[in-house]
């Protein structure tokens, strides 16, 4: 019953999770760590369709993949975390890539909301039948 609403809900959920991950990546784009430690690792949501032998049952996050732990070395001798040579480790995150995937996630979320409205009006009409 009302299966299509749950499917659309899972679509909204995965796109929101994706936006959360991207926000986290952008928020940490300048996070420095000592060279002896791992850099901040970008989060990538792995989406996977849920199959039920029929039309399917939505989408789920199969896992979160992490980006490069090596990052890149930045010369910043003023930084409190800098090593003997004045280097710190920063994440290897491409801001342009993050921003464009953010737009994709946003559009995906909007597409799901638009579909949710249509599905809801169909069910609404169905429960009014015979009145």
């Amino acid at each position: 019953m009302f299966q299509a609403l749950n499917i659309t809900g899972s679509g909204m959920e995965i796109h929101k999770l994706w936006m959360d991950a991207i926000s986290d990546n952008i928020a940490n784009i300048n996070t420095s760590t000592p060279t002896s430690e791992k850099a901040f690792q970008a989060r990538y949501v792995v989406a996977q369709a849920v199959e039920n032998g029929g039309v399917g049952a939505g989408v789920t996050a199969a896992g979160i993949e992490l980006g490069s732990a090596e990052g890149r070395l930045v010369y910043d001798p003023q930084n409190a975390l800098a090593d003997g040579q004045g280097y710190v480790r920063q994440p290897d995150i491409d801001l342009g890539e993050q921003m464009s995937t953010m737009i994709m996630a946003q559009r995906g979320y909007q597409a799901n909301i638009a579909n949710f409205d249509r599905v809801r009006s169909v069910y609404q009409a169905a429960i009014q039948m015979g009145k």
């Binding site: 299966q3 679509g11 989406a47 995906g108 597409a111 249509r118 169909v122 039948m129 015979g130 009145k131």
Partner: protein, 114 residues
């Protein structure tokens, strides 16, 4: 009499349209899922055949097929424009079928009440 072929046929159509609406929702919710294949639901042909052969339309099951279109960069072949158009068409067809069912019932209602 309350379960005539008109109502059964409309019910089968609504069942098929509802499955199609779910498939469209599935496609849209997976619009960014890598390697996802879009699916189509068909039932009209089978329903027509069942009706002309005088079979019970309620035995018609919707058929699910996968879109053969080549996927894009991520191997996903969902076409959001096509899905949106299909979603609106399905919504309207469903409301049409609902309307027809309601009218059929109100006809019966008139017959009962006089």
């Amino acid at each position: 009499m309350l379960n005539d072929v008109t109502i059964s046929a409309l019910q089968a159509a609504m069942h098929g349209l509802s499955a199609r609406q779910s498939a469209i929702s599935q496609d849209i919710s997976n619009v960014n899922t890598p390697y996802y294949r879009a699916r189509n639901v068909t039932f009209e042909g089978d329903l027509k055949r069942a009706l002309s052969a005088g079979e019970n339309p309620l035995n018609v099951k919707p058929t699910i097929s996968y879109s053969p279109v080549e996927g894009g960069l991520t191997g996903n072949n969902v076409n959001l424009d096509a899905e949106t158009v299909a979603s609106v068409q399905t919504e309207m067809s469903f409301e049409l079928a609902l309307r027809a069912t309601s009218d059929r019932f109100s006809l019966l209602n008139t017959a009962i009440r006089g």
